[in-house]
Amino acid sequence: MKKKFSVTALILVAFFVAGAQDLSLDEILSKHYQAMGFENLKKVNTIIMTGTMVQQDAMPVKIIRMRPDHYLMEFDIQDITAYQGYDGQTAWWTTPWTGNPKPQLMPDDRAKELKSRADFDGLLYHWKEKGHTVELLGRDTVDKSPVFKLKITKKDGGVEFLFLDAAKFIVQKRMYYRIVRGQEVAMENYFRDYRSVGDVLFAFTQDTHYGGQPYNSLQFDSIELNKPVDGKIFRMPAK
């Protein structure tokens, strides 16, 4: 009985994978938009994500996002609050652990990363209008699960890879490279524990690996939609 079930499951997976392999990029993206609830996301203007960032210590983290591309991350390192912000024009941060608590402009490479994160709908939605290029590189696996690997060449020239679950069409992993002391270091974000909020899917856990090693984990307790947010908070403070 158990064996019959396993064989049936195997056939179904094989059938599915064979079918999925034939999907075009447009078909994959269409299923991705549907799976994530993009139609419902259009009705959302702000997102507030509150939780914990585990990186040596477990510290509070809050991410506030506003259409079309406003982003503010408030997080604690050594129990001192730091910020990363983007107001649609200027990417800035504070790095109090360096001894300098003042807001500063982000270096170019980090600013590009933040702009990607700030895109309210994500890079894939309306990618042509945004000036990006998306290529389907074929099938791969993430944590032994079959995925579609997509390469996104952004308008600014930066490259990211997204890995979409071959069955659920949700993002399993994002990968890009950061230049650290002249060397390319792989940054990998793993998206887990998807839950529906307002009929939009959100990953409540985001684990980041840096150079192949676990780096930090964002674990959200709550994700709130359409709460009033003052647009001024995204601007770089004077001091």
Binding site: T52, V54, D57, A58, M59, D76, D79, I80, Q219
Partner: protein
Amino acid sequence: MKYHFFSSIIVFILLFPVFGSGQKVLQWRGVNRSGVYDETSLLKSWPEKGPELLWEFNGLGNGYGSPVITGEMLFINGEIDTVSYLFALDLSGKYLWKSKIGKEWTLSYPGSRSTPTVVDDLVYVTAGWGQVACLEAGTGKERWSLNMITDFHGAAPRFGFSESLLVEGNTVYCSPGSPDTNVVALDRFTGKIIWISKGAGEMTAYCSPMLISLPQRNILVTFSKTTLLGIDTKDGKLLWSYKQEGQDIDCQVNTPIFENGFIYCVAGNGNGAFKLKLSADGTQIAELWKNPECDNLMGGFIKVNDYIYTSGYEKRQYYIVETNTGKIVDSVKFDRGTTNYADGMLYLYNEKGQVGLFRPAGPRMEQVSTFKLTAGTKAHFSHPVICNGIMYIRHGKSLLAYKVK
């Protein structure tokens, strides 16, 4: 009758060295600084959202130190605008007064660190930049104060002075951590020096000391940077020391436990958990086991019968360690954090803000109830206190009082 009376006197005399002068010291981690609170008839499970919140006070300033509760008042430290204050509240959470202690630590992990020590009508406090002060419990008026950096050539360790002061009889002890003035005994009424110990000549290591009372002598046990120290409280003589192995070690935060001739330690750096045998006269130690895998940094540990319950550091889980062998016999996923004990139950408070009521069951611990703190600020590092059926939890600027009886 006469025989009974005589026996009672003998028993009293025998007990006298153990209980000192009968002095009631309210301090860090409860009875003997062991993390055990002498409470009875506490709840054996909590409602889904946690025990009833009786009150919260949200104006403490930054900090991680726990409160100390007397019959009428509650004392706790907090940092506001770089200054450390001793706050006094009544037992309904109403603010009474605050009194300035000194400059508080505002670099990494800013905020007050230590827990006040209360003896009769006096409160003993420290601040992150080395201030030691004695204040009147009723008013907060300063009796005396000194600074471990300017007065004793001490140096602040990288996370600031964090010691909760130990009081024994008429003496209060502090650890400046300088090579020549390592541990100091002060007259607790005047602040005058009684003796100075060179210890191992190392930097202080955030440890709040504990006291071992033996028939022959009393011993102050504390950590400096890499070394556990046993100091005779009569004259400051270093009786023995125990070196931690490893490189770049400087955090020896947890207060050791002494029981039936054995010293138990759990340290985040160096040897991890270890057990020492103390000679009957207190002058010698012998290592029985060590286990670097059990590496709790600052959450404390609890010993119940033959088991130690504590969280890990590198691995974010709780451990149960068998105390005869030092082996980890089980682990439980509950992130990492503090461990306390009252009325047969373990009280866990982890860095994600979850509070857990666990039942210690020998080589296992069983989760009974959990809830998540919703008030407060910053990191969840403080140690809960259970007193008179109330569990007090400090979360940054907030102090929360839960009814657990």
